[in-house]
């Protein structure tokens, strides 16, 4: 069940440049802009290629795979909807496709997090046209 949107400080506020990114996540897809000229991936959503500054960008699906570069464990409840989930872990993940794209997202696996941990994009729908990007471990938790 979705939380009351009025206290969802964590729901992004898209604009017309970024809306396709959030809408795709709402549909379970992780899409990034990719330059039709030079093949460079761009994140966050931008009107221009970060590689060659060309204008011809298409929304494409990367593998969604990457590895953890760094992480923080938030104990302080910075917003009402976050108060219910503290402590929670945010991972900064380096994408396999391009090593200069690092995307923060909630880490939602029981696996102990570490630098280099292999992870996979895990979209989560939070409103009609808005999804968020979580990260889950590509490996299973160790047997207990």
């Amino acid at each position: 069940m979705m939380a009351d949107v009025s206290e969802r400080r964590t729901i992004p506020v898209p604009d017309r440049d970024s809306a396709p990114y959030w809408a795709a996540l709402a549909n379970g897809q992780f899409l990034l802009q990719r330059c039709r000229d030079c093949g460079h991936w761009t994140w966050p959503a931008r009107p221009i290629c970060s590689g060659c500054h060309g204008d011809d960008l298409a929304w494409e699906a990367p593998s969604g795979a990457g590895e953890v570069y760094s992480w923080v464990i938030t104990h302080q409840p910075y917003a009402p909807d976050l108060a219910r989930i503290v402590p929670y872990t945010v991972a900064l993940v380096r994408l396999d496709e391009q090593n200069d794209i690092m995307i923060p997202g909630r880490f939602v696996s029981d696996v102990e997090i570490r630098q280099g941990l292999r992870v996979q994009a895990a979209p989560e729908r939070v409103a009609d046209d808005i999804g968020i990007l979580n990260w889950k471990a590509a490996e299973r938790p160790a047997a207990r």
Binding site: S50, Y69, S70, I73, H75, Q76, Y88, V90, D100, G105
Partner: protein
């Protein structure tokens, strides 16, 4: 050093400083705080409110704008103003931009100020009602539950721990140093001693940061008065020259194009700053470094050229930054961590007192050349810094 900078070196001086009490609840509005600090600074400069023709401020929709303050101060027509969005990352760009305006002659007397009810009003950590306007890139942070600067800086701090073996105790030494320096500062909000046990016992805020890795939230205001240097010598205090300033780019955590968060965002600022000042890191006698979190200090010691990456912990342990005996007295007032959080303008205030030789029991022995900095680029992508020199 090749002298290629066109910064108007030493052409402008800080001639007045003013502040309010730093507290958890000012009991007044930010309009009152700004007015009190501005009046105090202009009086300190030996000038009259009627001399002021420029106002510069910054904030996150949590303060009072120059056009409103000007009317209260009786300034009928501002010659120059800056009303910059963002917090401490732009604190020294205020000083830099005022310097450009004064040296160009478009203004004759500029007051830079920051006023906020940072504890009782709008809190930067996002829990106190919000600032109304969010930067465009915040959508890519809030969606991860990543909404406070503490989280962004902690992410870089963790990366530094993983790469260089930096420890929580190393961060703790920065918190303890700041507290020690605040003990005899009558302006400081935190004046009880802190031990490593105290530090390690403080609760997690954003692991790897504990409570004492995080700066205070403060109600208060600071104002700084600048005029051209040729006019400064007739005024009551030792002029404090803006030897150089630099502001601008840094990398943020949601800005692709970089691969190593441990590379200090201060590095590109430092190169331009020292070129503007015609000085280098070895010339700096004291440093007031923006310390909203402990790790920022470590990263800036590296980025502004005082240590190789990874070398700061040993310097901390050896007392290199102690006010009385260190080779580089650092955050001599207790900083944002223990004095108060006026988004970096209180660092300027302290540097001016030190350079004047008016810091009393806190006075450092060598006090002619100070580095003062704003927030690292991680949060906004901006950073700022100035080198101040006694005339």
């Amino acid at each position: 050093m090749t002298d290629t900078s066109r910064f108007p070196r030493s052409q402008v001086a800080i001639v007045g400083i003013g502040c309010t009490e730093f507290s958890r609840d000012s009991g007044v509005g930010v309009f009152t705080l700004a007015t009190k600090a501005a009046k105090a600074a202009v009086a300190d400069a030996g000038l009259r409110l009627g001399d002021v023709d420029g106002l510069c401020t910054f904030g996150v929709n949590d303060s009072i704008a120059p056009n409103i303050l000007a009317q209260a101060l009786g300034i009928k027509s501002l010659s120059f103003y800056v009303d910059q969005f963002y917090g401490g990352s732009v604190s020294l760009s205020m000083i830099g931009q005022a310097t450009l305006a004064l040296s160009a002659g478009v203004a004759d007397c500029v007051v830079c100020y920051r006023a906020l009810n940072g504890r009782s009003g709008v809190r930067v950590n996002g829990s106190g009602g919000g600032a109304g306007r969010l930067p465009w890139d915040m959508q890519f942070k809030v969606s991860a539950g990543y909404i406070a600067p503490s989280q962004e800086i902690a992410m870089a701090a963790r990366a530094h721990m993983l790469k260089y073996g930096t420890t929580n105790e190393d961060f703790g030494r920065i918190a303890i140093l700041s507290r020690a320096h605040a003990l005899d500062n009558e302006r400081a909000m935190m004046r009880t001693p802190m031990t490593m046990d105290d530090y390690l016992a403080s609760r997690w805020i954003v692991d790897p940061f504990r409570k004492f890795d995080c700066c205070l939230e403060t109600d208060g205001a600071v104002a700084i008065v600048l005029v051209r240097a040729d006019r400064a010598h007739d005024l009551p205090h030792r002029p404090v020259l803006v030897q150089g300033a630099a502001w601008g780019g840094g990398v943020t955590v949601v800005n692709n194009g970089h691969t190593d968060l441990t590379e200090s965002p201060a590095r590109p600022i430092a190169d331009r700053l020292y070129a503007a000042a015609g000085l280098g890191a070895s010339d700096i006698e004291l440093a007031e470094l923006y310390d909203c979190f402990t790790y920022n200090v470590l990263s800036q010691i590296e980025g502004y050229g005082f240590a190789e990456p990874g070398a700061v912990p040993a310097m901390l342990a050896s007392g290199a930054f102690d006010r009385a005996t260190g080779s580089l007295p650092l955050n001599t007032h207790g900083g944002l961590l223990s004095e108060g959080y006026i988004h970096g303008l209180n660092h300027v205030y302290e540097a001016v007192e030190q350079i004047r030789g008016d810091a009393g029991i806190r006075q450092v022995a060598r006090h002619d050349v100070a580095l003062v900095t704003g927030q690292l680029g991680y949060v906004s992508g901006y950073s700022s810094a100035a080198v101040l020199v006694g005339a």
